[in-house]
Symmetry: C2
Subunit: 168 residues, 2 copies
């Protein structure tokens, strides 16, 4: 079992994206059964200046696909950030997973020293591949994944840690 860039990145993203897709499907079933308005969940946020639920899911997807694209040099698909239902959010997660699965281990491995430049609004960020993964992509990915999960739990969706872990 070798430690290299691929096993510590893409499969981790895929595992938790699949986990979140399962959580979203449970939410969809509950909201349909109870005739709850999905918009109340889509727009829910823990504090006025935090991302709402839809943006948490979008950001989780984007950190996974952007990291994978930057490391591999393969252009990532662009999404419009206009999801308005759980079905649309599930579709976004699933197309993100489909993109990640097109990338082969050999296209990610050995990118730990690759020079990466990220254009921010007001500056450029220069990082090596491993720094991108450990200091930016992975913590943000987990941050948005967990916050999305916490919002589901807080709104009464019956999901458990094994769903988050992608083990359900």
């Amino acid at each position: 079992m070798a430690v290299s860039m691929y096993p510590i990145s893409v499969p981790v993203f895929v595992k938790h994206l699949n986990g979140l897709a399962g959580c979203l499907k449970k939410a969809q079933a509950l909201y349909a059964e109870k005739k709850y308005d999905e918009a109340t969940l889509i727009h829910y946020r823990f504090y006025p200046d935090m991302f709402n639920f839809a943006r948490q899911v979008q950001a989780m997807c984007d950190h996974a696909k952007t990291c994978t694209a930057l490391l591999s040099g393969i252009e990532a698909p662009k999404y419009e950030d206009n999801e308005k239902s759980l079905a649309e959010l599930i579709a976004r997660v699933e197309k993100t997973v489909a993109f990640l699965k097109t990338v082969q281990p050999g296209q990610i491995d050995s990118t730990e020293d690759k020079a990466i430049t990220i254009k921010m609004r007001d500056r450029e960020l220069n990082l090596k591949g491993l720094e991108l993964l450990l200091n930016r992509s992975m913590p943000n990915f987990y941050f948005h994944a967990t916050t999305a999960y916490d919002i589901l739990r807080h709104n009464g969706v019956e999901v458990a840690k094994r769903d988050f872990m992608g083990n359900a």
Copy 2:
């Protein structure tokens, strides 16, 4: 920049534990200034069957120290899980960081294939070192770190993503 077990584990734990310690200190200052009862935060939970805030912080610390102990073979300090104030939670985070810093890179590197056995309530879990880190310790660490952060934000503590990232 080599990819090996140490850089993808202990420094990640330390960075976000320091980040959370900073968040806890901001919470402490706010609750003192506003004369809020810290117990309302310590006991806050997003849903009745989720961990409360204190247990989120305890679990974050424990996943970091247990993973580090299992990989290195160095016994981790035991904590009593009896923190009742922000000051006590800060002390727990700080003593966890102090333990992690006693472990040297050479004691963690090359443990990716190490056979690890975890005693669960009703069974044993057998994992290799890298599986422990990627499939158990790191996702749980980030899960509890983020949920603790989200609880602080939801309760009005003015922390930001850079605090979570340990960059503040």
